[in-house]
């Protein structure tokens, strides 16, 4: 039996984190994500967990990693400018393979930008905001229901794959209120613990799964954690052969699991001559525009990546020969990934960066325009 509730996206995200078993939150107030911190401040101490408001965004990310190392499922939430500050320790969590979830409720940028207006401005920052080559998982909900379900999934991915997972929300889905069906329960994953004795434990082992077992601090497995390039024993190294082995595993560790990580929704693709690829808040007017276009007899379909990173390139490659339209609330970020698959030919953009949602009419007009050139 599921429970229906009227909820705000940020609230659904917080509730999803609780359903996933979050026990630690560190954060710093920032619009439009603050509700998540406020809910955590109220609920975590009731559950035996801990909420702490840190002195800044950098410290919040650091505290989240520290807490996760003791075994607590850990969360922080922020928005554009705060996300920029998070990048230092976000990279640290990836390099040291400490599970955690970072919510970024995107707002307009650059800099302080448009604090209360929506944008999808941090798509590339989510992937490449921290320095160095690294894997990345980022999920993009387009409804309040998805804010809930994907936050649970974000924790599951973080725990299973020992990495940072970004919930790439936006001001629209964060502040939207709509009906949510709360499932009785969703599957919850926990990090793989060592099965060997402490003297046999290799903390960053080149496990065939590519995901080494993780011991929590205080459980008798004493090991070293460093952001320096390290060997399987966790100790720093500058040796090229050890470095290469470590970075190969780190950068490829999601590859065997892409089928489960890459999530998307599709509609009317079978006969679609034009595929609109949209995500997050932009997918909402796109859906309406596609329905209207279909009523006009235009063969248009929807491809909505739910997992933005790793981008489902192989999946969209199946649609070679079709036209693509990528509407985004940025100056063209994820469209680059579509162009990487098909080249510039046949890939159209529709962008808006003034803090207003792209409207159904704008999308429908663009669909008509593109379709008028289809033979």
């Amino acid at each position: 039996m599921s429970k229906a509730r009227l909820m705000q996206g940020n609230e659904a995200c917080a509730e999803g984190a609780l359903a996933a078993g979050v026990r630690f939150y560190a954060g710093y107030p920032i619009t439009p994500s603050t509700e998540i911190a406020e809910i955590m401040a109220e609920k975590l101490p009731l559950l035996g967990g801990t909420f702490i408001q840190m002195e800044d965004e950098i410290g919040s990310m650091a505290a989240v990693i520290g807490a996760s190392l003791t075994g607590a499922k850990s969360l922080t939430a922020t928005s554009g400018p705060g996300f920029s500050l998070k990048q230092e320790n976000l990279g640290y969590a990836i390099a040291t393979e400490v599970p955690c979830v970072v919510v970024n409720v995107q707002r307009g940028g650059p800099s302080t930008g448009l604090p209360t207006s929506p944008a999808q401005a941090d798509v590339m920052q989510a992937k490449w905001g921290t320095h160095g080559d690294h894997p990345m998982i980022a999920l993009s909900p387009s409804s309040v229901q998805e804010c809930y379900e994907l936050t649970v999934k974000a924790f599951n991915f973080a725990e299973e794959f020992r990495t940072v997972v970004i919930m790439l929300m936006d001001e629209v889905v964060g502040h939207l209120r709509e009906k949510v069906e709360l499932p009785e329960s969703l599957p919850v994953e926990n990090r793989k613990k060592p099965t060997v004795s402490p003297d046999q434990y290799v903390p960053f082992a080149n496990d065939p799964s590519l995901i080494p077992a993780m011991a929590n601090f205080g459980e008798g497995y004493r090991y070293h954690v460093t952001g320096l390039t390290h060997g399987e024993n966790g100790l720093p190294t500058g040796k090229p052969e050890v470095t290469a082995k470590f970075l190969k595993r780190l950068t490829q560790k999601l590859d065997p699991y892409l089928e489960r990580i890459q999530l998307w929704e599709e509609a009317y693709l079978a006969d679609a001559e034009l595929i609109v690829l949209a995500y997050g808040c932009t997918a909402r007017p796109v859906r309406e525009a596609i329905d209207a276009a279909r009523r006009e007899g235009l063969k248009v379909g929807l491809f909505r990546p739910i997992t933005i990173w790793p981008f489902p390139s192989r999946e969209i490659a199946k649609y070679k020969g079709r036209k693509f339209l990528v509407p985004e609330m940025n100056n063209g970020q994820l469209v680059g990934e579509v162009e990487r698959v098909f080249g510039f030919e046949g890939v159209e953009r529709l962008n808006r960066i003034d803090g207003e949602l792209i409207t159904v009419t704008e999308i429908l007009e663009k669909i008509r325009e593109v379709m008028s050139h289809v033979q």
Binding site: R23, G59, A62, A67, N89, F217
Partner: protein, 268 residues
Amino acid sequence: MFSEIAEYFRTETLPHMWCPGCGNGTITAALVRAIKTLRLDQNKVVIVSGIGCSSRMPGYLDFNTLHTTHGRALAFATGIKAAKPELDVFVVMGDGDSSAIGGNHLIHAARRNIDLTAIIINNNIYGMTGGQSSPMTPHDKRATTSPYGNLERPFQLLDLVQAAGATYGARATAYHNQLLSKLIIDAYNNPGFSLIEAISQCPVSYGRRNKFKTPADMLLWQKEHGVTAGRRALKDEDFLIGEVFNKEAPEYTQEYEKLRQRLKGGER
């Protein structure tokens, strides 16, 4: 003797990377001796560090060890202690690490009075990057980025954290390393944020530029200028060694636990 404390080291990681004459090794031994005297459970001890020469220390030690990002050690340690208060958390930082890039985390850890035992190894310089001036480089002293002498004035670290709310502060040197061990024990026993300023020597990046011919000259300088309270009036380059302040205030993780218990009882 090293053999007395070898059980607390990852001996396969030795020899350490520090330069001959550096004070980091002496201070590492003082910390380990304190932990041995306290008979702490190795599995429950966490040593957190930032970035810099001194922050390489945890890698050599056989505890739960965390070598973090530049300046952020106390923020990581805050997460560890807040999530699992039963762990004994020591934080080792350099002077640039803790007081420049990490200055915000330093004052806020002190303000929360969270039960961490922090040691700032102060060698008055950025050693790992080759001798740039730090917020602890004395006025007029030379560094690669203050080639004509430092125009700025250094922090008074213990005054700073005391004003911010820390409940224990003490100072010792690499020369006064037995005193340092004793102060680390006292700091550990203080239920709150404790800071020990461990004055150290960097003969390569600081000493050479500031008229110290040998590392021994720097240790003799520590011996000469480190003064126990009440022994004599401080002059010139003198500084106090020993406990500088020790007071009581509510500790963060205990207060948080009280909140959990209060909520469990139905009170809001």
